[in-house]
Symmetry: C3
Subunit: 276 residues, 3 copies
């Protein structure tokens, strides 16, 4: 399992790559996916020709979701920190936001937890109006999210809506995600692929140096500092260690969490039923 | 009058409280309400079980409005500063934004001046589509608003829309408030209570420590500093002292300001008719 | 040509001025317009009675567009820096955002490049739903925009949407501009003039000192620092000097750029066809 490739890279052209999550049935994030994503980010950082990358999913109903709590979490927890001193997950997200390539998340199906965080680290997000659902479900499991949504969502949609999204742990469908600025736009499902492809192709026709200078300047006002991200990560780790959280996760797993079925198909509803 | 309770606290459960403004006919803010609100904030800060508080109104047509300029304003102006050095009004708002409880404003009727500022200090705001009207009317009375809307609205909706709201002093109905991000969402009036109650109940089912860690991290990017709030308060006090302002307020009072009737029912229109 | 007046100032009242761009057929920005705009800003800064200024256009189809690349650009490039040390173009924009007058852009027709940047430096922006098109087309010509849209758009609409607007170089029509917060609101074309006139008249009825104190406080959170703007300007100048950019501009000019016709009428589409 460990070496199985769950993420496919396709080069539509030297300047325009696609990264497709293909880990059925849930596109759940397994610890061994992190090195795979890291390798892709490194490729994007070092390739001289690539200008645009689109992240999407090959799995019906799921863009990319949360950590697989049924996996050996030690594989993830005990990873050494990356060069910035951050844990490799938030470090990878920060690298993506600053990598010399324009990144677009094309969201169809559920993007929650790490899936939402990866989308937020991208430069732009477009969602299927009918089929996209975004969320940060973590508080429903007693957890503080670790990949920076407190920092990212507050900058995208303001304090009030960011607090609602994260503290409610609710499912956010495409149109509400557009209203709140969680995504750039939601599009009719039939139009999403064509729209994103045209946009990526267009951006890939522009000058790489100019694209990156612009992105660097937008990042000045648009990206949180590493310290703010680190503070969120530390709160996540601390929340994971609390007995109340461990018990909550155990209860969710007993009811079907991390397995195909109602729990993951209606995660917002599911985590709201704790203790009932 | 001074000791009359104008704000009711109801505990739906140990974890979920309601605070209801009930000072008919206008829910106008009288100086003696400030100690009452402060006492409630202290209770919220010290109670170990409360996780969510909803602010609403029992008065038809008014959520909570501005200071009663017919009252003895000295009672308010000469209050000693709170522990942070701020005047007790902005200090109370800052305490609310940081108190160990998630706060939701459920807005039906007019929320202007201090009513709008209290809603902005809450973590989230939901509005009746048909019956909510938000505004910062102050410039219509020659005043700089004192409770931080320059800082809060700019962060919620950007500079252009914040300037429009505050410099126009216009009424902002529910749908426009939603478009601008003044509120999280506007809902059909018939749905507002059920929606807010379900959200509050849901959040109250989550872990308090985790909720508060998340809120603390959102506050990093989402809340203004005390110095920025203090600067706004000082500009408010200075504007109050200007003869032009005193004259403007006197003229408004002569036309019915702070009394039931057209002036308060159509405050946006009313303050736009100065000197006509 | 050099001394021809292309910008008209009309005083609707001592407190309410209009500034109208009237340089048919394109309202293209010629180097000699900069001193004219500077003179108007100086007049707005020194007049004691003016409280509101509205910027609009007398040219069908164009609010104000980009630099005329067919002009002697040396006239613009070799201007000495202004008092803050910035190049006179970004310096003028910063002066407008801080000038002792409330500024409103009333946008009908195309506002791209410097036209979009001027609108973004205003306090508020209102757009014709049918006839306004905003954009930052620059990356389509290999250029980093110089007048601060990376800083301004990121603060108005968040990182994701700002990156889409600037990196796509696409036309943004009125309704999308409203959704993204690029403008305060888009209004039916027939209502735009009446709406803006009523708002300007209303604001002009308020106290100047109070208006400016409020604006100063909104600017604290809403405006970028001079250093951030300077960094963007330097990236613009550097991009201009790159051979790839010079070649791209030459190619665009060969296909009709900066002249009346399809190129400017459909600029978004036009710059997306490079190399096809």
């Amino acid at each position: 399992m460990k070496d199985q490739i769950q993420i496919k890279v396709t080069k539509r052209s030297p300047a325009y790559w696609r990264v497709t999550f293909d880990h059925p049935p849930l596109n759940i994030f397994r610890p061994e996916m992190l090195p795979q994503v890291n390798e892709i980010i490194t490729a994007l950082e070092t390739d001289e020709q690539v200008k645009v990358v689109v992240f999407d999913s090959a799995v019906e109903g799921f863009f990319l979701i949360h950590l697989d709590f049924l996996a050996r979490l030690d594989d993830l927890a005990h990873l050494p920190p990356g060069p910035t001193g951050l844990h490799p997950w938030p470090e990878m997200l920060g690298r993506l936001s600053r990598a010399p390539v324009v990144s677009i998340a094309s969201i169809r199906g559920r993007a929650t937890g790490m899936g939402s965080e990866l989308a937020l680290a991208c430069d732009m997000r477009f969602a299927s109006r009918e089929k996209a659902i975004l969320s940060q479900f973590e508080v429903g499991a007693g957890l503080v999210p670790g990949g920076g949504p407190m920092a990212q969502l507050t900058r995208l949609m303001g304090r009030g809506r960011a607090l609602e999204v994260i503290l409610s742990a609710n499912d956010i469908p495409g149109d509400l995600a557009e209203l709140y600025g969680y995504v750039n736009r939601s599009l009719p499902d039939a139009d999403l692929d064509g729209f994103v492809d045209a946009l990526a192709t267009r951006i890939a026709s522009f000058d790489k140096r100019t694209l990156l200078d612009i992105r660097r300047l937008v990042n000045v006002a648009g990206l949180p500092s590493d310290i703010e991200i680190e503070s969120g990560w530390n709160a996540c780790v601390a929340s994971m260690a609390r007995p109340a959280t461990q018990e909550r996760i155990k209860e969710l797993i007993g009811r079907g969490f991390c397995k195909p079925g109602e729990a993951e198909d209606r995660l917002g509803e599911f985590v709201g039923q704790h203790g009932r």
